[in-house]
Subunit: 150 residues, 2 copies
DNA sequence: GCCATGTTATTGCATATGCAATGACTATGC
DNA sequence: GCATAGTCATTGCATATGCAATAACATGGC
């Protein structure tokens, strides 16, 4: 294959590049809506997961949404500092404590809910109905999947 | 809406969260394949864009793939340090110089091409034919789009 | 109990990402 | 030709992300 075709191919069809581009745009939409509330899209994402899974260990969050433990240590530290989540005392396992949303964290969730809805609406219109449905389907197959399986 | 439903809704249907999850998984696939060559998925992505667009200004790259100029300054600096790209002297505009791929950069592109093909294959199988097609369609609508348009 | 093995969390390192502010240059109006 | 407005790039700041190495704990076999 000529060099130019190889480059055009990599530039025009790389699924990773496309996914990253799409993610940057989508994240920007949510960040814009959430800015008045002082949290970022990624933080809301994490807060929601912690709120839903109740007392939950870091490793489990990582398995759920495919995040490296080291990333979680740091991202969750920010949220601990903000008082949105807290460590739960009662635990059988000495390797770190489970996390749960605090009352202020839950209140914040309710407060930002309309802004999230708005961003979600914009994202849905950008993706189109079939796009949104497919994105949902695709990623639902990844939820809770151990890394490295293809 | 009860609090639990609100949380389930945000956790289970957030398009941004899904897109980020998917992107993490996909990026991991490409990173694994590219690791022996000493470059990361994001760097290959950028190298390909510079190689294709020829002498090109940072701002134009940013418009193409929706990347903040400040992000580009730093990401491109790494690639300049590695000698994969270079600044082009002849320019009418004194605000920074256009960039192009160097010969070593082009050689690297050819060398990693099979690894990229392999990762692309894995990504395609993970997404399925319709998923890959849709991801392509979705993001092609974003190429070259000015930020903030929804 | 002790050791080998496995699991969980953290830390050092490097990069990716975006906002706000700034500097440097260009283009436009007069 | 100069002042104003606009464009391009960089820097400071904060966060997001993952790998390799390590620390801390758990578990199973003996």
């Amino acid at each position: 294959m000529p060099k130019e075709d190889m480059i055009s191919n990599m530039a025009g069809s790389c699924l990773m590049g496309r996914a990253r581009l799409l993610t940057r745009v989508l994240t920007g939409i949510y960040d814009d809506e959430l800015r008045p509330f002082g949290l970022k899209a990624t933080q809301l994402n994490l807060l929601v997961v912690v709120a839903q899974l109740g007392p939950v260990r870091r490793i489990e969050i990582g398995r759920m949404i495919h995040l490296d433990p080291s990333t979680l240590t740091r991202n969750l530290q920010v949220m601990l500092n903000n008082g949105w989540i807290e460590e739960v005392a009662d635990d059988e396992d000495g390797r770190g404590l489970p996390l749960q949303a605090t009352r202020p964290g839950m209140t914040l969730l309710e407060k930002v809910s309309p802004a999230w809805e708005c961003a979600q609406g914009k994202a849905g219109r950008l993706l189109g109905a079939d796009g949104a449905a497919l994105l949902r389907k695709l990623s639902s197959g990844l939820f809770g999947t151990a890394p490295g399986r293809v």
